[in-house]
Symmetry: C2
Subunit: 338 residues, 2 copies
């Protein structure tokens, strides 16, 4: 690999001049500039940006801690992060953490060992060890989707509680009074927030909250399918099912259809996220649309602002959601309503 000194020799100038000719062309005479450019081409010079990063102390790398890269919703967030980062000259170091805290910690160390400037966390968990805690100083981190309550950290999310309430309200308006909820992983704050919103809507509508209508899930297709089997087997079957994400809903939908139920005639199903597959179910899934790509973009933008000292307080960005009513929800069957 050629270096700047070879270019300098070839051009018959000093390394400083070469550096200037490349970084601030107006600082060198046109004549010298030409000489340098010719020499650059001559020796096929490509700057060693590792040296630049080392010297400057800025890597322009951001670590993204993603529990599961293969999750469609997360994939959209990553896509947004990637695009925003590229626009501002940063690269994304992707970490597939599988929710494992030791893996998270390993990647977080990249920030502590100067391999990355900052970190984006999709889970509600602080991956840094205590040595990073500087009193009064923000960690070089931004949280997306899930909110960490115990730490002061910029965050991009949406009002999950309000969104879940809106969806539940939609179902109630359709005449449903027994609405099952298939939850997400217990560990996720999202699960609790969405449950709270579901409960809010019931309370507002004067309906009783029934623990037995809550089903465990973990945001996977399979867990939706499993929960649906249990719902089918329950006595007093609910007339609607609100799933805390779309994958769960799609898994549940398959189970109901294979059992011979017609959706939404026999049972209504609603999801959360609006992944691409949701519009292509049969029937298409009623869901809450989240601006996933914007989550990623906004998070990256916030993190870079933080790193570049443009913000010092930790903002909380609440993105808008949208209730998307499609064919999977409809009026409650008369028999159930009666």
């Amino acid at each position: 690999m050629s270096n700047i000194r070879q270019v300098a020799t070839m051009a018959g100038v000093s390394v400083a001049t070469v550096s200037r000719a490349l970084q601030q062309p107006e600082r060198v005479s046109p004549k010298t500039r030409t000489k340098v450019m010719l020499a650059v081409n001559e020796v096929g010079y490509k700057p060693n940006l590792m040296a630049v990063k080392f010297r400057s102390g800025k890597t322009h790398n951001l670590v993204a801690l993603v529990p599961t890269v293969a999750n469609v919703f997360f994939a959209r967030v990553i896509s947004g992060m990637q695009i925003a980062a590229a626009q501002r000259g940063y690269a994304i170091l992707l970490a597939n953490t599988l929710g494992d805290e030791s893996i998270e910690a390993n990647y977080a160390k990249m920030v502590q060992t100067s391999q990355a400037d900052g970190l984006i966390q999709l889970r509600a968990h602080n991956p840094f060890d205590s040595s990073m805690n500087k009193p009064g100083e923000l960690l070089p981190m931004v949280n997306v989707c899930e909110v960490m309550s115990d730490i002061n950290c910029p965050v991009v999310t949406l009002d999950n509680r309000a969104a879940a309430k809106a969806m539940t309200l939609h179902l109630i308006e359709q005449g449903h009074s027994r609405i099952a909820l298939i939850k997400g992983p217990q560990s996720s704050p999202l699960t609790r927030e969405r449950l709270a919103g579901y409960r809010d809507a019931l309370t507002d509508a004067g309906l009783t909250f029934d623990e037995s209508l809550l089903y465990p899930g973990d945001f996977t297709l399979q867990s939706g399918h499993n929960a649906a089997s249990k719902i089918l087997a329950s006595k007093n079957r609910p007339s609607a099912v609100f799933c805390e994400n779309d994958e769960t809903a799609i898994g549940a939908m398959q189970c109901f259809k294979q059992a011979g139920l017609s959706i939404p005639r026999d049972i209504s199903i609603a999801g959360f996220d609006d992944i691409s597959f949701s519009a292509f179910c049969d029937p298409p899934l009623t869901t809450i649309a989240q601006p996933a790509e914007e989550f990623g973009q906004s998070a990256v933008s916030l993190l870079i602002d933080l790193l570049e000292g443009k913000i010092t307080k930790a903002p909380k960005v609440i993105m808008p959601f949208e209730l998307i009513v499609r064919g999977s929800t409809g009026p409650a069957p008369k028999s159930t309503v009666a």
Copy 2:
């Protein structure tokens, strides 16, 4: 940030000794080792790995050029890459190229500017500029999924032609003789290979290849839906549809179902990839399973071997596929067969 010199001062030894105490503990006396470790903790020393990378000329970063991060199949490949890379001490720099050659070239430059050691390409396209071509030397690149014919490059893929042939054969065995094919993007070699396999099977079975049964697509849900509409509108409608990927199949399936067709009674549908959603369709989708995660792992492993000089020839790794027969394919309707 503390550095190694501060540790040296604190421990009362030279920087060389500190470096050795940390890298090759057996090379220093136990007494010194202890002194150094105490000093490390004392000043909260974290090595600047950017300096190490700069000095060594090895970044231990790999660039992954992915056309669309949000594609579920690619997401699985990325997941595999990520895991294999982590195991061998490498990090993945993710690039969402959108198939744009200038974006690809930008990320490829990261290799040329010493920001990454190598690159994994998911498209059949060489992103490097000509300055990288060293006669007789392999590029620091591995190809996954798609094969580049014009360049000598290690590759991990599967026999798409054979797989498409196997699927088509399956449909033929079910009694189908008019089988539509919804293709992928024209630009992708996958599209052509799968088409070739489809054709092979028809030829072997003595069926005529009918151009009018080929429908354009681009691997998206929407394109599958669009193609299905056209199929519905065609006179002499085919009794089976082979889609070049699962997303297309799922999009097509929705269209057929909404038109009142029963699958597979009225029409059979087959896909390719075996994404997670395929098992959770109604009916579940017959498809070709590809070991996507293994693609990623194998590619990373190959690339690292290449970078570390463990291989000098460009191997071609052909992964196995599996025909997964589910409910979306069945015997051809009698009326059509007759």
